[in-house]
């Protein structure tokens, strides 16, 4: 069994109003040290395949066809054996 851990965030070039709102709240609370904040989503897939290479390939295909809209989003994928 393998686990694909996927972080999806808006591209740097896309304004993230959710992140900006949370950032503003942190600044209002005196946490001026926080320079920037982006809100994204975390997706975990459990894959019943025989090799790490196969798990990575399937996870990448799923990310690019379904989980991520590459017009506006980018992603980081890590696959681990479990």
């Amino acid at each position: 069994m393998f686990v694909a851990k996927i972080n999806v965030t808006l591209k740097e070039s896309v304004l993230d109003p959710q992140g900006q709102t949370v950032l503003r709240t942190l600044h209002d609370q005196g946490k001026g040290q926080v320079q920037d904040l982006r809100v994204g989503k975390y997706i975990e897939l459990k894959l019943n395949v025989s090799s790490l290479k196969e798990a990575e390939s399937i996870a990448k295909e799923i990310c690019e066809s379904v989980l991520v809209n590459q017009v506006i989003e980018t992603y980081k994928l890590v696959v681990e054996s479990q």
């Binding site: 808006l10 896309v14 304004l15 109003p17 506006i72």
Partner: protein, 215 residues
């Protein structure tokens, strides 16, 4: 006139748009469940507003994998007329029938109000309109986004159909609606079907549907 209105789980404007097409255009309306595929060639296919598949993951993202959308893509590629309103516009961008994407409104607020639409002169639809149109919007994720190159292409090809007089949601280039290069696929965030009842004093939505059918 034959019309297919595709209904997804979570669509909630399917009957609205279907009933006005029936009442004002005498259309023979077929409500097509998302699991149904079709190979006939109606005069118009409408992807209605709502929250297809609960808007989970991204608005419109799940809808593109349905059997009916496979038929819609084939139909559109053959030149068939498609109108996507609100969630339907989001489905059209997710399916690749229209470029770009719809983001959360810049204010993060759900906006429900009448807006003034400016038909874009360089577009083929504009010859059907005189002056601005007043149409309601109701959405949380209606800010049109595309990269600079795509925006330039849209402007150059005259694919921007409507702009907001006063941008309510942070859409780039004040875009409220766009069409594909051939002009047979129109996506827009405002709801023309909600401005088609003389008792509410608004009929501008009828002009938009007429323009799409005549264009």
């Amino acid at each position: 006139m034959k019309v297919r209105v595709v209904t997804f789980p979570g669509s909630n404007c399917d009957k609205d748009v279907g009933s006005v097409l029936h009442d004002y255009f005498q259309a023979d309306v077929n409500y097509t469940w998302y699991k149904e595929s079709f190979d006939d060639v109606p005069d118009l296919v409408v992807l209605p507003g709502g929250f297809s598949f609960g808007d989970y993951l991204r608005c419109g993202a799940m809808a593109k994998f349905s059997a009916s959308m496979e038929s819609v893509v084939k139909y559109a590629n053959k030149g068939g007329k498609v109108l996507g309103v609100c969630n339907g516009f989001q489905i059209l961008t997710e399916s690749g029938l229209l470029p770009g994407a719809l983001l959360h409104n810049r204010t993060l607020k759900y906006i429900c109000k009448d807006v003034e639409l400016v038909p874009v002169k360089e577009n083929g639809f504009s010859k059907h309109f005189q002056g601005n149109l007043s149409i309601p919007i109701a959405h949380g994720e209606g800010a049109y986004f595309a990269d600079a190159e795509t925006l330039e292409r849209l402007e150059k090809n005259g694919q921007v159909v409507f702009r907001y007089q006063e941008n309510p949601n942070g859409s780039l280039h004040d875009i409220a609606g766009i069409c594909n290069e051939k002009g047979n696929v129109l996506g827009m965030m405002p709801h023309p079907e909600r401005a088609m009842n003389p008792f509410t004093g608004k009929m501008d939505g009828k002009l938009i549907l007429e323009a799409l059918l005549k264009n």
